[in-house]
Symmetry: C2
Subunit: 99 residues, 2 copies
DNA sequence: AACAGTACCTTGTGTTGCAAGGTACTGTTT
DNA sequence: AAACAGTACCTTGCAACACAAGGTACTGTT
């Protein structure tokens, strides 16, 4: 059921946080009760990066290996707005059907 | 994005209409602005039938070939309630993240 | 030196959705 | 009667997505 919605959530988190690294994203989503695992997240982030929607920079951490901090590109922000609009439409349509 | 949500919608339509045939379902969903095509719907209905959630009966039509009218089984009604609850939870979680 | 913790990543599998094809029944037109 | 249009059913092959289960590598602590 959640398929495809993860992309929306991940872009949403990066937008709200300004920047985020993968393990961070997993934690934030867990708090919102959407479980996402590494095997799902990493390929998704790579895909979004490849599509020009995200960029990243390495940042040293003082509690382990360096982190890949992702941020939205201009194109990514634009795409996120569209995706968010799609979500609201879908959500509304589903409500009509199942209410 | 819509992945997995079609199942919810289809069960919802059959529940609301009491019974429905595939071409019917496509039309109803189109009105709610969710496009679903035959290549998606038929396998989905077969899967739900196989899983014991739906049953069907053939009904003669006076405007073409006979129609397969689907209805929910007891198990199907139960499953639909659970799926609907999952949808509301998901919807709520997504709102938290992207609002 | 060994371990625990954190962080990154890949491979292989099952599910889902869809485009593009196909069959068959009925009523209407030629 | 043959051809057509309309309705309805269904299958095949492909691509995208999510995930389980593995793996690598860096840092600080025991």
């Amino acid at each position: 059921m959640r398929k495809g919605i993860l992309e929306l959530c991940i872009l949403g988190i990066i937008e709200k946080e300004k920047e985020a690294y993968p393990s961070d994203i997993i934690q934030i989503m867990k708090k919102a009760e959407i479980i996402v695992v590494e095997g799902t997240l990493y390929p998704l982030l790579s895909r979004l990066k490849k599509g020009g929607l995200l960029q990243y920079k390495w940042v040293e951490s003082n509690s382990g290996p360096p982190r890949k901090y992702y941020t939205l590109t201009g194109e990514g922000s634009q795409y996120y707005l569209e995706l968010k609009a799609s979500w609201f439409n879908l959500s509304e349509s589903v409500s009509k059907i199942i209410k």
